[in-house]
């Protein structure tokens, strides 16, 4: 049970390991890139740094999905939409940051607007020349969309597979909208050719190393925030809703409001992950909204292990590492591997990779709320394992 001021990680050993590995990555990658000379065999190229940064962004997206799916049973198949929106908000800042250095040299209009013969900046581009404004939008726009969407969906008691389907529709609709040139987001091509962020050159190794470290920090902070939620009494209500929604309502808990808060918070994490992704990758376009992206993200969580938080992140990193390797070595087999992975994990490892970790490592004995007679870790491991319903 979470108490403010009490060290939260005391009973979460696997989580502590997770944060330790994250800290190690944030320390070692900069060393390998910055300190070792380019001729050293251990030197890490900018490509390597960016790749790891990308994995960490995906890890954050997986974390966001696990929070709502693993703990509240809300299976969103459109979460990549929030990731993409966060990315677009960052992209708009980066486009305006280019200024007169664009191909057409227009100090205000991004290149694609000049190309489309637009005379002035659309109203929704105002303010994006300020970094802080753009960062506020990275949080606010996904939150607002999640709030509106969730308000209608949860109030109408749309649950289970129906919810999953409409989230697919949401991301698909956004993809089609962003493909249109008239939307004012660069259409098909999206945004690219970024020059710098806050004056730091986006082509330099140093900037990429800093972005990677920032991503690691954001991931760790998100992890701790999610942990604080799921370990609080609200977290227990959320699990209660997952297991017996009408019973929770009967006890007087406003189920819709709990779902909405959680969904909005999850969307915000996904948005921040997207915003960190774009400057590292250097491009954002409507394909990020593709329904398959959201489904892939759900597979990461299933592979890593639902309802553990760190498992979801680990799943994202491992599956994407596999993707990087296989799409390079055997490009034609990747999708088969992904499909087979999902089937095998569902059948053989319902608790994902995290389910392989022995319970005693996963969690130290708790002492809060009375002295446990049984090892709570075993109970919890069992609890996660038994939750095998698909939604």
């Amino acid at each position: 049970m979470f108490r403010p001021g009490r060290p939260l990680l005391l009973h979460d050993r696997a989580g502590t390991w997770f944060l330790a590995v994250l800290a190690l990555v944030a320390l070692v990658v900069p060393l390998l890139n910055q300190v070792l000379s380019a001729s050293s065999p251990l030197h890490m190229s900018q490509y390597g740094v960016t790749l790891i940064g990308k994995y960490l962004c995906y890890g954050m997206l997986a974390l966001a999905i696990d929070l709502i799916w693993g703990y509240c049973g809300i299976l969103s198949l459109g979460h990549a939409a929030f990731f993409a929106i966060g990315g677009y908000a960052m992209g708009m800042y980066l486009m305006r940051e280019i200024g007169p250095r664009g191909v057409y040299g227009n100090p205000v209009l991004p290149d694609f607007m000049v190309f489309l013969n637009w005379k002035s900046l659309p109203w929704f581009w105002y303010g994006f020349n300020h970094f802080l404004f753009a960062m506020a939008m990275v949080v606010a726009v996904p939150a607002l969309l999640a709030w509106i969407f969730g308000w209608f969906a949860f109030r109408s008691r749309v649950t289970g597979v129906y919810f999953s389907i409409i989230t697919q529709a949401l991301t698909y609709a956004l993809m089609l909208a962003f493909f249109r040139n008239n939307m004012g987001f660069g259409g098909n091509n999206g945004f690219t050719d970024f020059k710098d962020i806050l004056g730091f050159d986006l082509h330099s190794d140093g900037t990429h190393v800093v972005l990677l470290v920032l991503t690691a920090i954001a991931l760790a902070a998100s992890y701790l925030a999610c942990l604080a939620i799921v370990e609080s009494r609200a977290g227990r209500v959320i699990r209660a809703i997952r297991d017996a929604e009408s019973r929770s309502r009967f006890l007087g808990y406003p189920v819709e409001s709990f779902k909405l808060w959680l969904f909005v918070f999850s969307a915000v994490i996904a948005g921040i992950a997207g915003a960190l992704y774009v400057p590292q990758i250097g491009i954002i376009n409507p394909s990020e909204f593709a329904p398959i992206n959201s489904i892939e993200a759900v597979i990461w969580v299933a592979v890593g292990g639902r309802g553990t938080l760190y498992g979801a992140t680990a799943g994202a990193v491992l599956v994407n590492y596999g993707k990087t390797y296989l799409t390079g070595a055997f490009p034609e087999v990747w999708l088969y591997v992904l499909g087979a992975l999902f089937v095998l994990v569902t059948l053989l490892l319902p608790r994902g990779i995290a389910g392989l970790i022995p319970a005693r490592i996963k969690e130290a004995k708790r002492t809060a709320g009375g002295t446990p007679k049984m090892d709570r870790a075993d109970i919890k491991a069992e609890a996660i394992g038994s939750n095998e319903s698909p939604s």
Partner: protein
């Protein structure tokens, strides 16, 4: 009229499609009393519970909770808040939460997301949970998950969840259906231990169970009370014999 009883049901009449589920039912429940309601199928036992909890509105009659609360004017949620708790037949506990956490969920107090996010288990809440664990006999299982409990233990846990809200009136629907003899015995002890603290109305088919707990038994038939008194008196009542044995 005297207003010193816990529950006043007077002249309640409920019709469904022309047939009367309740037909002028009048019944009083004393404070702290353990009352058993029996009767053949269709006698109106469940409809009576539904009227008390606000699920069904009567066509006629009055239902007062104490001297000042008119149950017919309250919503279901308001009736719960007023202190009437109902235990349904099928146990529903939170399977993935521990027994302790199940009781914590049920404890009176904050219900909103932001409040529960910051909520800490207060000493008073913890004490009440311990108390209820003791009453329902699950102290030794406090860290067990809801789903590993036996059927009887789930029923007790659910009664415990109702007790967390300190209800003045507890309505219990067929608590021993599907229980083993040992569990039935334990349930009888549990309900008897609550007598005095809470008014309890138990609807039950199992006659030996009713005999083991009841001080006062009310027999319903065709929507009205046909006998009221201790078990021996009720069993000797010719109308009860007729209804149950069809003599």
């Amino acid at each position: 009229m005297l207003r010193d009883k816990r529950l006043y049901l007077e002249d309640l009449t409920v019709s469904f499609d022309g047939s009367k589920a309740l037909n002028g039912l009048t019944l009083y429940v004393e404070p702290g009393e353990l009352l058993c309601v029996i009767g053949p199928n269709g006698a109106g036992k469940t409809t009576m519970m539904d009227v008390i909890t606000g699920k069904t509105r009567p066509d006629y009659g009055t239902a007062w909770f104490g001297s000042d609360i008119d149950l017919l004017k309250l919503s279901e949620a308001e009736i719960v808040a007023a202190g009437i708790a109902r235990k349904f037949q099928r146990p529903t506990v939170f399977e993935q939460l521990t027994v302790f956490e199940n009781l914590e969920m049920a404890s009176a107090g904050c219900r909103s997301f932001l409040k529960t996010l910051r909520a800490r288990l207060t000493a008073a809440e913890k004490e009440r949970i311990e108390e209820v664990l003791e009453i329902i006999g699950l102290s030794g299982h406090r860290w067990a998950l809801g789903r590993v409990l036996a059927h009887g233990q789930k029923q007790w846990l659910e009664i415990g969840m109702l007790l967390m809200q300190n209800p003045e009136l507890l309505l219990v629907d067929e608590p021993v259906a599907g229980m083993t003899p040992a569990e039935i015995e334990r349930t009888a002890e549990l309900l008897l231990s609550l007598e005095g603290e809470h008014s309890i109305v138990v609807v039950e088919h199992d006659m030996s169970f009713v005999r083991s707990i009841a001080r006062r038994v009310v027999v319903l038939h065709e929507g009205r009370v046909i006998a009221d008194g201790d078990m021996d008196k009720v069993q000797r009542d010719p109308r009860v014999i007729e209804v149950y044995l069809g003599v």
